[in-house]
Amino acid sequence: MNVLTDPENAIGSGSLHFKLNRRQKTLIITGLCSALLIGIILAAQLMSNAGIATNFSQQNLAPSWSHPFGTDWLGRDMFTRTIKGLAISIQIGLLASSVSVVIALVLGMCAATMGEKVDAIISWLVDLFMGVPHLVALVLIAVVLGGGAKGVIIGVALTHWPSLTRVIRAEVMQVRSSQYVLVSRHLGRSRWWIASRHILPHLLPQFFVGLILIFPHAILHEASITFLGFGLSPHLPAIGVILSESMGYLAAGMWWLAFFPGLSLLIIVRAFDVIGDNLRMLLDPHRAHE
């Protein structure tokens, strides 16, 4: 076994003639995942509500061609409910993680540029938010805000910034002490000039990648908190609602009520992960040539 000659690279260069290179492959996979996500949001808009209306002639059907995910005890088509639920999750996740990323960006910049005291306070805040188990913090915020979509969005937005704040702080620290920034400062450039021309361009990729990487956590936490009964109202076809309702029917052998919606959620979360990782690889100059 020889680990020193990297087998991944060896395979890549040996089969260059008939295979796409890694960058092309990465781009294609990223494109496919994005198409999947956009497709789900569009499909949810285009699907009629007829599928999720109560229909007692179609109760408790196992998966078939006309109902790929089966139907539930009210005769609602589970495929339609799942797609609509995923679209709701994606929208809530997007909103909550955008807020989180903005908080992280502002706090990370402040921590790195506004002196030791501010830095200490922000790192103490990060510790405070990381100290309470994530789910307990979400429950507390949801309860205090009286539950509902508002409680979920605010809860998820307020609890997902700490780790990204650390990353951005470290990034800003690094750029600030680099040679060209020091030169620029000695040439008499103002703080604002340095922040907007030298530091911010470095943070933009962090911003977008951070957004996409927070996304999976946001969606999973939204589904969890809804599953526990603190989140979205039971009338919405959210994945958490579908799964918590399904618990009463599993003993009757209706496995499809839980299996397909959860699996779809897993695929969506994984797709976001893949997009985030690939973007990071493409945007990071140190890793772009891998």
Partner: protein
Amino acid sequence: MNSAKYVLGKALRMISLLIALCLVSFILVKNSPIDPVQAYIGADMMRVSEEQRELIAENWGLDKPPIEQFFSWAGAIVQGDFGTSMIYREPVIEVIGQRFAASLALMGVAWVLSGIFGFLMGIIAGMNRGKLIDRAIKWYCLTLAATPTFWLGLILLIIFAVWLGWFPIGMGVPVGVLSEHVSISEKLYHLILPALTLSIVGVANIALHTRQKLLDVLESDYVLFARANGESGLGLVWQHGVRNIALPAVTLQFASFSELFGGSVLAEQVFSYPGLGQATVSAGLRGDVPLLLGIVLISAIFVFSGNLIGDIICSVVDPRIKEDRSSV
């Protein structure tokens, strides 16, 4: 000496964070739509008159200014009095004590199993970089990280309880038996599925981390030197790899208490396991403020102690960290 000072500093920081947490959660709950008197009365709403409500509020000091209320609450907490749970009608500290013991058994099993298996999987993947088994383990871990814990629980429930019939569906103890009369074997029996769920999910993080660390170590100069000396295979990894990657893995595993607790809330809900996670959900849904605040504080102490233990182990075992700190 140095590490004692370091640990003391960490402990002081932890206390300051806990005080802040008390303040923040008190303010949050104070401004929430929950009416504690309403939550306390619950179903007896019709039989309690307006005057009686006011008496209860006065008895609890709800008519006093919020700052005074905070200090009387915080003073009681310092003495270990968390108040009385409204839904269990027992002191909060006793409810938490009983439930935490059940949860601790669950989390302990999952923590040990996921730690051991995750570490082994990480080493296997790292030693076989780029081969099929490495890619399989990586794919498995990344997929697990994207899996909703409660969905995995439901799937295990469908397979083992509904299809195979090996386990009862839900219920931490058999129906119709007092909790004192439940034997240890029955308790263990009900622990298996939730613990399995948590272990399966918990493996991902530690395995990926260990794999990456091992790859870093294997690329180092001293491993190159060891290879030049003719060492290879398991012996090489044991001599030079494991010693270097064990410590970060242990720290990471202690730092995972927060996710472990969150996972146990979900797993307990799926399997109706009577632990602290289930109490959290009932406290939140039914507006039991004293219990909810108690759980927030206890779970935070749990997470902080995990981090603190990780830090202590690191600073005691690893001489480099001591040196690093004294030079800073």
